[in-house]
């Protein structure tokens, strides 16, 4: 059961974060952090399809994570989701056309490796 939940979490997180990145890049850079300006940003974002799909995916991932936390420890639940780092970086390079140089690849691999070690 726990591994089914892990698979659901990894897939939904990857999908959710990539969709979030696409939606936010289409929205454009946020400059103004005053509450009323942020309110306007939120009201624009709730009409963006990418953001809505991202929130749906994040919600699936969140509830699956809550279910996983109820049957396992946080120290198991957090590290196993590290697999999404690799998937997301690959998608960032090929789908979002980000420049992923050696520093970023090494960085992501070190982070994913480190997160895996934390579960021991």
């Amino acid at each position: 059961m726990r591994w089914i939940l892990v698979a659901v979490i990894v897939l939904a997180t990857t999908l959710g974060e990539v969709l979030q990145a696409i939606g936010m890049k289409r929205h454009g850079e946020i400059h103004d952090f005053r509450p009323d300006a942020l309110g306007r940003v939120v009201s624009t974002l709730v009409r963006c399809r990418y953001i809505l799909a991202a929130i749906a995916a994040m919600a699936v991932s969140f509830f699956a994570f809550m279910a996983l936390l109820s049957i396992t420890e946080l120290s198991f639940a957090v590290p196993v989701t590290a697999a999404s780092y690799i998937f997301e970086t690959v998608l960032a390079k090929y789908l979002l056309k980000e420049h992923v140089g050696w520093k970023r690849w090494m960085g992501v691999l070190l982070v994913a490796g480190g997160v895996t070690l934390l579960s021991f």
Binding site: E29, S70, E98
Partner: protein, 163 residues
């Protein structure tokens, strides 16, 4: 470093800190709350909604909403392949908080994991937060192109357009 790159770096660092802190605090409170809620394995939404009435869960979820919004704001200018490893500082913080405040034992393997994460974060922190062109930058670039084209058309200042 131009002032706009410095502003971008500053803004990115501050928001990364907000993302990390709200994530760590939110997840810790949620974890604490779920322990008193009990096993939650249901496809019906009702038990999940009931869990939200637990105060630990409620505050945890509120902080996770702050996390979601700040994460989205950060992604409005920064690369996903930058944000992803940078926010991994959260794992290090969880371990340090566990060691300092909950007096948990941190094994040698876990310290090794923490070291790897910090090395990864330092490496990625040395890259520019944004590698794709944003809208205003793209506009500026096209203006430069127009100016260069006009200049080469005028002929007299042709040499300036050469690199």
């Amino acid at each position: 470093m131009t002032s706009s790159t410095r502003t971008l770096q500053f803004k990115t660092r501050i928001l990364t800190a907000v993302v990390v802190l709200s994530n760590v605090l939110g997840n810790s409170l949620l974890s604490r709350g779920m322990r008193s809620v009990g096993v939650l394995l249901s496809l019906s939404p009702l038990p999940y909604v009931q869990a939200l009435f637990n105060p630990w869960v409620a505050v945890g979820v509120s902080l996770l909403i702050v996390w979601l919004l700040s994460h989205m704001a950060l992604l409005s200018w920064a690369d996903l392949s930058y944000v992803l490893p940078m926010t991994a500082v959260a794992y290090v913080l969880v371990a340090v908080v566990g060691r300092l405040f909950l007096h948990e034992q941190v094994s040698l393997v876990r310290w090794a994991g923490i070291t790897l994460i910090m090395l990864g974060v330092i490496l990625v922190g040395r890259t520019s937060p944004r590698t794709t062109l944003s809208q205003p930058a793209a506009e500026k670039d096209s203006r430069v192109e127009v100016k260069t084209a006009l200049r080469s058309m005028s002929g007299s200042q042709h040499s300036e357009a050469r690199p």
